[in-house]
């Protein structure tokens, strides 16, 4: 095994001055980066800084409006993801699909011509090829078990293995550790280091800045679609990176304190659900925003799910405004005065093929009856109410009859928010409310959330975005492994404290 030399190695991927606009928005405005064979490059930036557009261009999904791309010294122009693949570029998303019933070997060979012997698929040769690679980079990975039985981390190793098994020279890893517990992230890094030693070029894209700093040989910072800094050696410190990124999301300094005598709107005592390992007790006042921060699988959304009636309560009690709350389904939760914005809106919130009014009025449809006793919605009233709600959440749209799929991500999210506008609910539950929306929309949604709290709601925000937890929470509860492991007041909450609490002890000590 050789050690990395950085400079001495071939320039694997060079992107220079990339520009890309979508209608009026400029996603990239002169972004550049380069990565050598046998190097790990960290790529960071806030949501909307242009990381995902850059990844999509490198992966052949978008063509840049301007700029130059070179792969191993050759100018390239990708017309499709297929071209990027042929050039040796592998973009690996954390949830890239694997075939659950196939084992590691079969998943690694998927989509490639199988080795054959006497006209039959030569399974032994397939296994040999993968076993050789695996021995080198991930010796503990089970090869013959269906990936459905593997851990999340092991599946991530399978994705890496698959990428390099088929001549992948340049790996672009998009948030590869987002779903991994800390000890698994370390195993993952060991594998990346071995890949680096084999001469693979790696671009590591992540929000977890401490990890980026730890694993990368160099860090490139994007801001507003531009490359604003390239940090090496001692410059690679988390604080410096944050500074270059443009600072943390502006904390709402003008946020008024919750009055001491604000009534308790929600109290949860000893709550246990299948996703929680230790009972949770928490009380939230009217007008208070509590951020539930943790990684995927930490149990941070369990309170929301239990309150909304989609996760069973095994033990404990919940009270809303003094009244016991034991919802069998979301309908009970709505009746009790709860509003909810689910995570992953495309899968769980949006009716993409339906118009905006349909999307807005669905959960409270019975409020639009023309005659109270007949279940016939009054289209006129629905439309008026939609227009008022859209204004309240500052949604940008062409017409109420346009399909929800034609809105931008931020406006789709506002559409989901608009369902509950003007409603006097008691509790607002928000799961990853700004996931996948741009910076401007993120700010706008933060404003909406503060307005909801100011209206007297108790607000619970479940998030895996540390900056969001800091920006929104009057209090931050940190979840790890199905339990609350720390609680911070607004004054105590700092990025470092949150990260240390959210990750395993071993890491916090390091």
């Amino acid at each position: 095994m050789q050690l990395t030399e950085g400079e001495g190695r071939a320039l694997a991927l060079a992107l220079d001055g990339l520009c890309k606009s979508f209608e009026a928005t400029r996603a990239l405005d002169g972004a550049s980066l380069s990565v050598r064979a046998g190097e790990i490059l960290g790529l960071v930036g806030h949501n909307g800084a242009g990381k995902s557009t850059l990844i999509k261009i490198a992966g052949g999904l978008y063509a840049p409006d301007a700029g130059v791309m070179r792969v191993f010294g050759q100018d390239v122009r990708f017309n499709s993801p297929h071209d990027a693949y042929d050039a040796g570029i592998r973009v690996i998303h954390q949830d890239a699909p694997l075939i659950p019933a196939f084992d590691t070997v079969d998943n690694c060979w998927l989509g490639r011509p199988y080795p054959r012997r006497l006209g039959m698929i030569d399974r032994a040769a397939m296994r040999r090829a993968i076993a050789e690679l695996a021995a080198e980079i991930a010796p503990d990975l089970p090869l013959d078990r269906p990936v459905a039985e593997l851990t999340i981390a092991e599946r991530q190793f399978v994705r890496l293995l698959r990428a390099i098994a088929d001549a992948g020279k340049i790996l672009i890893l998009d948030e590869p550790t987002a779903a991994l517990p800390a000890e698994d992230a370390h195993r993952f890094f060991d594998i990346l280091r071995r890949l680096r030693a084999r001469g693979t070029a790696i671009v590591f894209v992540s929000h977890r800045l401490d990890e980026v700093v730890e694993i990368s040989d160099r860090v490139v910072v994007l801001r507003d679609g531009r490359t604003v800094a390239e940090l090496v050696g001692a410059e690679m410190a988390v604080n410096r990176v944050i500074e270059e990124m443009g600072g943390a999301v502006e904390a709402a300094a003008e946020r008024t304190a919750i009055p001491q005598d604000a009534p308790i709107m929600l109290s949860i005592e000893g709550l246990l659900t299948p996703e929680l390992r230790r009972p949770v007790t928490v009380a939230v006042s009217a007008g208070e925003v509590v951020a539930l921060y943790g990684l995927l699988g930490s149990g941070r959304s369990s309170l929301l799910n239990a309150l909304w009636g989609i996760e069973p309560t095994l033990a404990g009690t919940m009270h809303l405004d003094g009244a016991p709350h034991r919802p069998a389904d979301p309908h009970d939760a709505i009746e009790a005065g709860i509003s909810y914005v689910p995570a992953d809106r495309h899968r769980t919130g949006l009716f993409a093929g339906f118009d905006l009014v349909f999307n807005k009025s669905l959960p409270l449809l019975a409020n639009y009856r023309r005659w109270a006793r007949l279940p016939l919605p009054d289209a006129q009233r629905e439309r008026q109410d939609f227009l008022a709600a859209a204004k309240q959440v500052a949604m940008v749209f062409r017409a109420p009859a346009q399909l929800a799929s034609t809105l931008s991500g931020g406006n789709q999210q506002k559409l989901i928010f608009s369902r509950w506008a003007n409603r006097h609910s008691k509790i607002m539950l928000l799961d990853e409310p700004t996931e996948g929306v741009d910076v401007m929309a993120k700010q706008a949604i933060a404003d909406i959330i503060r307005a909801i709290a100011a209206d007297g709601n108790a607000v619970l925000v479940s998030t895996s975005d540390r900056e969001e937890a800091l920006a929104l929470g009057d209090r931050v509860l940190v979840f790890r492994d199905g339990a609350i492991v720390a609680e911070f007041s607004r004054a105590e909450a700092t990025p470092a404290a949150l990260s240390a609490a959210a990750q395993a002890k071993e890491r916090a000590a390091a």
């Binding site: 939760a333 689910p342 899968r347 009716f351 993409a352 093929g353 339906f354 349909f358 009856r369 919605p377």
Partner: protein
């Protein structure tokens, strides 16, 4: 251009009618033939309406034909026994509703894929129809009032035409203008989002399948009234044309979703095609092949239109 995509199916239907009118003006465009067509298509329209409801929530019901057969058999067995003939209709309809509700419960409560649940339950219904009928034809003691439901005429128009209008009119109203219809479309659009938005989706699914079973039973009864006799397999040939009609109908919708007007158009196209081809003397086997090809072309044209 997108108007062609939207109205293409309707235009195709008009062209089809125009073509057959030119080819066989006397036979095709006659009042007698139109009335005949309406009578033939009534049962298919009602079964296709049942299929449309179930497809609106994104599910399949393969038991519609079996439910139609069983309802007709139950009714005629009661006629034959001569006991309470006036109870025969409600009992047969309730059997359809109950069978459908059982389908819905398997799907909504136990999570059985609708394809499997309705195929299995349909097979049970079919067995019951054979058992009750003894396997042969039933035609005894049929009251004239009953056959009038399928053979009579009102103001000179076959009574079955009114059944089409009534059933499809009510179904269309329910789907597009009521809360229940809105729920069904939401479930079909995104079942998980519908559940998280607080819709009572288990109840909605069970009611939808029950309605489909009840409508299938009604179709079976009307078919029996028109023919005056019943065989335990008489409803089965309705299944595939019903879904063909729904699929052709989806090509008339901007989002490719099932709708009652679309299904009506689908029934009309398949019906006119079969009727017209018979009149101009196309061999039955060629008719079948052409019908299949036309469905594929309709869906393909639609897909290609949308890809742009």
């Amino acid at each position: 251009m997108h108007h062609i995509g939207r109205y293409g199916t309707l235009i195709a239907f008009i062209l089809l009618c125009a073509g057959f009118t030119l080819a066989a003006p006397a036979a095709f465009a006659s009042q007698a033939n139109v009335f005949n067509l309406l009578q033939q298509l009534a049962t298919l329209s009602i079964v296709a309406t049942a299929a449309t409801l179930v497809m609106t929530i994104g599910e399949f019901d393969l038991s519609v034909g079996f439910a139609a057969s069983l309802a007709a058999v139950i009714c005629f067995v009661m006629f034959g026994a001569g006991a309470w003939p006036w109870l025969a209709l409600p009992v047969a309809l309730v059997a359809g509703l109950v069978g459908g509700a059982a389908n819905g419960a398997l799907v909504a409560v136990y999570g059985v894929p609708s394809f499997v649940a309705t195929l299995a339950l349909g097979t049970i219904l079919s067995g019951a129809a054979f058992g009750l009928s003894g396997g042969g034809s039933l035609f005894q003691n049929v009251p004239a009032e009953f056959t009038a439901l399928g053979r009579g005429a009102v103001f000179g128009v076959p009574v079955l035409a009114f059944w089409i209008v009534a059933v499809m009119g009510v179904a269309s109203f329910v789907l597009s203008l009521t809360e229940f219809g809105r729920h069904l479309r939401a479930i079909g659009g995104n079942a998980l989002a519908a559940r998280l938005a607080g819709l009572p989706i288990a109840r909605d699914i069970i009611v939808t399948f029950a309605l489909a079973g009840g409508l299938s039973a009604l179709a079976g009864l009307l078919l029996a009234a028109r023919l005056g006799s019943v065989q335990p397999q008489m409803g089965e040939p309705l299944l595939l044309p019903a879904y063909a009609a729904v699929f052709i109908g989806t090509t008339a919708s901007p989002t490719g979703s099932p709708s009652i007007p679309g299904t009506l158009l689908g029934v009309a196209i398949t019906g006119v095609l079969a009727n017209g081809m018979t009149i101009v003397g196309v061999e039955p086997f060629v008719q079948k092949m052409l019908t299949g090809a036309i469905i594929i072309v309709a869906v393909l044209v639609r897909r290609l239109g949308r890809a742009k």
